[in-house]
Every structure is written in C-alpha cells, then in structure tokens.
C-alpha cells in the first residue's frame, strides 16, 4: 500500500469514527438510563452489634530449625454501641483469639477487652466526656507513630504484620477523657491512672497492667492551619518522666497526593536500657516519621515513609551486640511490645491496589527496609471480597543476614490463608 492510499484510508476511517462515536455514546447513555437501582436497604438503627469470625491456617519456615511449623488461629471479634439516652452512649469491643500452637508467653486462648466505656455528649454537641477503657490513637503515619503516646503495651497478640490491621487488636487504656470542639479546632484532655503493676500472661485477664501500669495524662490541641493543612500538638506526661511534646500534621499536596509527618521529643530511657532493665539514664531525644501518598486514577496508592527513632540502637551499637543474639532478640521483642522502631532509621513503602484485575480483588503490600544492615521485611496480601465473606492470602518474608534486624527473626517466611465472615 503506497503512502497516498494509506493516508486516504486513514482519513476515511477517522471521518467515520467521528460520525460513529457520538452515536455510540448516545446509545450508551440511553442504555444507562434504562438501568434500575438495587433494592433499598434501611440503615441500621443506632443500637448496633457488629461481629466477625475469622480462621487462619498457614506455615512458617524456620531459620534455626530444619522443619517448618504449621500455624493456625480462630478468632471472634465483636463491637457493640448503644444509645442509652439522648447524648449518652455505651461502647463495648472485644476479641477472642485461639492460637495453635500457643504464642510464646501467653495462653492459647486470649480474650482482649479492647474498649468498654460510657460517652456523654451534652446538648449542642461541642463537648464530649468519656469514661472507661478507650482506644485513643493519635498520628497519621502508616508504620510508626511517635505521637501515639498510648501505644506501648497495647498489643496483646499479633495476628498480622500489616501495620493497619495490627491496630485492630489493640487494647484501650482506662481513662477519663474530655474534648471540646470549635468549628476548626479542638482541645482534649485524657487522664489515665495506674491500676496494675504489670502485664498478665493469663488469657482471660483484663490485662490492665499492660495499659494502666503508671499514671499518665495527655493534652491535645488540634488545629486546621489552612484548607489543606491540619495538625495536632500534644503534651504528654507520665509518672517519673518529664513532659514530652509531640506534633503531627497532614496536608493535601495535589489532587492525587497527600503528605503526613509526626514528631515527638522526650527524656526517657533508651530502648536497650529498657530491654536490660537499666532505666536510670533518661537522655532527651527525638522521634520522627513522615511520608507522602500518591494515588493514581487506577486506584493504586503508594506511600513512601521515612522513620527515625533517637532512642533506638545505632547500627554500630546493634552490630556490637552481635555476639549476644539473645539480647538482640530481647531488644526486638521489647521494641515490638512498645510498638517502637527498633532501628535508628527505617524506610517504608506501602502499596494498595484496589480492584486488581477483578473488581473484588485487592492487593496490599509493604516493604520495610533497615538501611543500617540492609535487612528487609516484605509483606503481601491478596484479598477477595464477597458480600459477607473475605478470602485472603498473606505472605511475609523476613530478609537479611543472621546479624540483621529482620534476618535474626526465627521465622524466615510465613504463608497464611484466612477466611473472614462478617455479620
């Protein structure tokens, strides 16, 4: 075909497409107008019970043992909120987990009373008072929250490595809380008394020792700086220690991008001193995390986050512990208990893709990198939704040499299949 003929044919096809496209579009619109909405479902009444049942089965390959081990879990999770009188509300939230085999240092069956509190919102709705076990959480970061002052000890059991889902098991702290709101700002105070000395390994214990083992208080001021930027300033005080300050911020950068950051500064024992029980020295140091989330039109969201913990071991100090792997493991375990960053610095890439090839299939994955020893934690979940049921596949890979943060962990790879029924 010569160039002229080709040009003529292309021209004709283009002209034809110009004529046909509006007709097709008009027909599509007419077809769309013949569709009908789904039957209406009345919203649930204010008194609401929500529960789910979940089963998990998987296998973990071991770093120090030749054989892999099977792991299993069955869980029932419920929350109930009831309006007692105008302005009054009662909230209860509980989770029961059974592990096979049992997790180290806890019973096979663990009941977590996450929340149980009364809420009073006087007329006008500008102030709120709450009393009971309340899950109070601050901070917009994805993988490390320096301003989430009530995070330590709150995770009784670990059922996932996903930092978002991890918080679903979190225990609340018994406190009296008051909040007052203006149109674009709010102030709140929370007072949490000491109620027990130490955490309990008894699976049916309320475990107040995990969350209320010292007197604590936090004052928070929330401000909308502009249409696109908002932040929270926090003052935190606990028995024996001096006051810590915290600040967090979230901002809209563009139609597709948001940014977040968190900062705190306090005087307290370092993480290794806590691990070793030597808590006399209280240096003043900073914690920080900050990142950006970008979302594409195709529902892909990517978050990149930098994390810093001035109380964690430097890479040189971590390496110096290489001759004492038991101490290193105890250090990592303490970091997990306190929900602290074990490394001085860390990077997180967190990715979600909704409707991956199929409308009801979602992908969530993240990579946590310790730049000091180049070890990595990779986690991936594929989740298929049905109206009341989810089926998930999860893969966790701990990558690194034997003396690294993630290479030291006993599980090399964990593969799990989960079924979740929602009611």
């Amino acid at each position: 075909m010569n160039t002229y003929t080709h040009a003529v044919i292309c021209g004709c096809l283009y002209s034809l497409s110009l004529c046909v496209t509006p007709v097709l579009a008009a027909n599509d619109e007419l077809d769309a107008l013949s569709l009908e909405s789904a039957p209406e479902v009345k919203p649930a009444a204010p008194t609401s019970l929500k529960w789910l049942a979940e089963g998990a089965w998987g296998n973990a390959s071991q770093r120090y043992l030749p054989d892999s081990r099977n792991i299993g879990r069955a869980s029932i999770d419920f929350s109930y909120a009831s309006r007692l009188a105008p302005g009054w509300r009662a909230v209860v939230s509980d989770r029961l987990d059974y592990f096979e085999p049992a997790l180290a240092s806890t019973d096979a069956t663990v009941n977590s009373l996450r929340e149980a509190y009364l809420s009073w919102q006087p007329d006008g709705g500008n102030s709120i008072f709450e009393l009971g076990r309340i899950n109070l959480r601050y901070g917009p970061s994805y993988g490390y929250n320096p301003t989430d002052f009530f995070r330590d000890g709150s995770l009784r059991v670990l059922t996932t490595a996903d930092p978002f889902a991890l918080r679903e098991n979190r225990l609340g702290t018994v406190m009296l809380r008051g909040q007052y709101m203006w149109s674009d700002s709010a102030v709140s105070v929370a007072l949490a008394p000491k109620l027990a000395d130490a955490a309990s390994a008894n699976g049916w214990n309320l475990d107040l020792g995990a969350t209320n083992n010292r007197d604590r208080a936090v004052l928070m001021l929330s401000t909308q700086f502009s249409k696109n930027v908002s932040g929270q300033t926090l003052l935190y005080k606990q028995a024996v220690q001096s006051t810590a300050i915290g600040f967090n911020m979230a901002a809209l950068l563009s139609d597709a991008a948001t940014a977040h950051l968190e900062f705190s500064r306090s005087s307290e024992p370092s993480l290794i001193d806590r691990t070793l029980g030597a808590t006399n020295a209280t240096p003043t140091r900073n914690r920080f995390s900050g990142g950006v989330t970008y979302t594409t039109v195709g529902k892909l969201s990517v978050t990149a986050e930098y994390q810093y913990n001035g109380f964690a071991l430097s890479q040189a100090d971590w390496s110096a512990l290489g001759g004492a792997p038991a101490t290193q493991l105890a250090y990592l375990s303490e970091a997990l208990r306190l929900q602290e960053l074990a490394a001085r610095q860390s990077y997180l890439i967190y990715v979600t893709q909704k409707s991956l090839g199929h409308k009801d299939l979602d992908l969530t994955a993240y990579l946590r990198l310790n730049p000091g020893d180049d070890s990595k934690l990779f986690w991936l979940e594929l989740r298929r939704h049905w109206p009341n049921f989810d089926l998930s596949f999860q893969l966790q890979q701990n990558i690194g040499n034997a003396n690294s943060e993630f290479g030291l962990l006993p599980d090399r790879r964990v593969v799990q299949v989960l079924g979740t029924y929602y009611h």
Binding site: L33, P46, S48
Partner: protein
C-alpha cells in the same frame, strides 16, 4: 387617531411584556436555583444507595448515610457513614471542602484523602457529598435547547457552561442543562483540565423531599468507559441538627448517628 394610537401603545406594551417574560434569567440565578433544588437549605441526612453496573450487569451495591450541612463559607460539608456491605459498616468519610478524611473505627485510623482516592467503586468521594456549584463555579448561559432527560423525555433546557473559580475543585469545567420551566437540573457533563470528559450525570425521579421536588436518583456514566454506570438513589431525607463542629477530623471517632 387616538384609538389607533392607544391600540398601538397597548400592542407595543404587550409585545415588550411578552418579550420580557420570555427573557432568560441570568446564568447565576439559574445555577443558584438549581443548587437549591438538588440540596435542601438546612442540615439534613439522606440514605444513598449506590448500584454499580458494568456492561449492563450489576456488579456491586453499597448503602451509605450522608449527614450534610452548609458551612459559614456557603459550601456544604458532609460526613458519610457506610452501612453496607457489612465489612465496611460504621466506617466514615468526612468531606469539608478539600479537607477529606477516612476513619475506620476498627483500627481507629484517620487517613487524609486526596480527591483522587476513591472509596466507593466507580463513584468519586465527591459524588456522594453535597455540593453547592454556585460557590465554586462561574456560570455562562450558552444556549437554550432541547435535551433528553433522565426519564428519556425531551425537555426545553438552559445550557450553562461552568468554569471553576476555586482552585480546589475536582472538575475544571462543567456543562449543565437545567429545565427552562422549573430550574431542575437535568444533566451535567464534568471535564478535567485537559477537557477530557470525566463523567455524565443525569438527575431524575423527582419527588417531594424536605419541602421541594428534588431528584431522588442520579445516573453516573463514566466518561472513558460509558459501559461503567453507577446509579445513586437518595431516600429518607431527614432534617437534622448537625453542629458545624462535627465537620472536622477530631469528631470522627466520637460520631454517633442518632
């Protein structure tokens, strides 16, 4: 001569009068009146049922309750509570201008959203929130023409071209057809800055709700893939006392629907 003069004067007055009564109102007035039909003028809640279709087949259904009120800047702010599917029940989305947050009560996480992040399948987050277009767009009356409405009937309509005057809006421009008889919105076409058609929306099934005949269903046709259609049904409009202080991130963990 006097009678002829008088008759001429009467005829002239009538002609001028008729002409005046037929003169199109201003584009601003049409847009404000049309906003007033889509949106109640007081705080309210409404149940929203979204039904998603792909190639004519239903693929998803979601139920939400939206709580909206006008803020001092004249624009609406909304808290949207997920009702169905069950796994999402109780989750909240706040939209106060571009201050958008998603709150999940199970993990207590408040996540800042960008306008491009979608929580609702094909529908954008802004689709379920109430918006006063007159606050963010400058309208121009470009034509008076016949158009097919959502019930597939021909209507005489004013065609308005809306250009964004606020940099924060999701759509750079909008074409809008408003019923010339009663200012009811009939159809809108939403465009990106690149002039790409993002979606076409028909407003239909007008019923009395909170003191006016309002559209109780909208048909959202994707601009790129016209086979992707979302129907949004609005039911159970209820006037409510919704304080201005609710429309901030710090209120989401304390939100208790009455």
């Amino acid at each position: 001569m006097l009678p002829i003069k008088s008759i001429s004067l009467v005829l002239f007055t009538c002609l001028v009068g008729v002409g005046a009564s037929h003169a199109a109102p201003s584009a601003d007035a049409i847009l404000v009146a049309s906003d007033g039909i889509r949106n109640p003028g007081r705080p309210f809640s409404v149940t929203v049922t979204l039904t998603e279709y792909q190639k004519g087949k239903q693929v998803d259904a979601t139920t939400l309750t939206s709580y909206s009120r006008t803020q001092p800047n004249g624009q609406f702010a909304s808290i949207v509570r997920f009702v169905l599917p069950t796994r999402d029940a109780g989750k909240l989305m706040l939209k106060n201008g571009n201050d958008m947050w998603f709150y999940d009560p199970t993990n207590k996480a408040s996540v800042r959203l960008s306008p491009q992040q979608r929580l609702l399948g094909q529908a954008s987050n802004g689709d379920v929130a109430t918006v006063n277009l007159a606050k963010d767009y400058k309208p121009t009356l470009v034509a008076e023409e016949e158009v097919l409405d959502g019930e597939r009937n021909k209507r005489n309509a004013y065609k308005l071209a809306l250009t964004a005057v606020s940099p924060d809006v999701t759509y750079a421009s909008i074409e809008m057809w408003v019923d010339a008889q009663n200012n009811r919105p009939i159809k809108m076409r939403f465009f990106a800055e690149s002039q790409r058609l993002l979606k076409t929306v028909y407003y239909r099934k007008y019923l009395p709700q909170l003191g006016a005949e309002r559209p109780t269903e909208s048909v959202i046709i994707d601009g790129l893939d016209p086979q992707s259609v979302t129907l949004m049904r609005f039911s159970d409009y209820v006037a409510r006392a919704i304080p201005e202080t609710w429309m901030q991130r710090d209120f989401l963990p304390r939100f208790q629907p009455e």
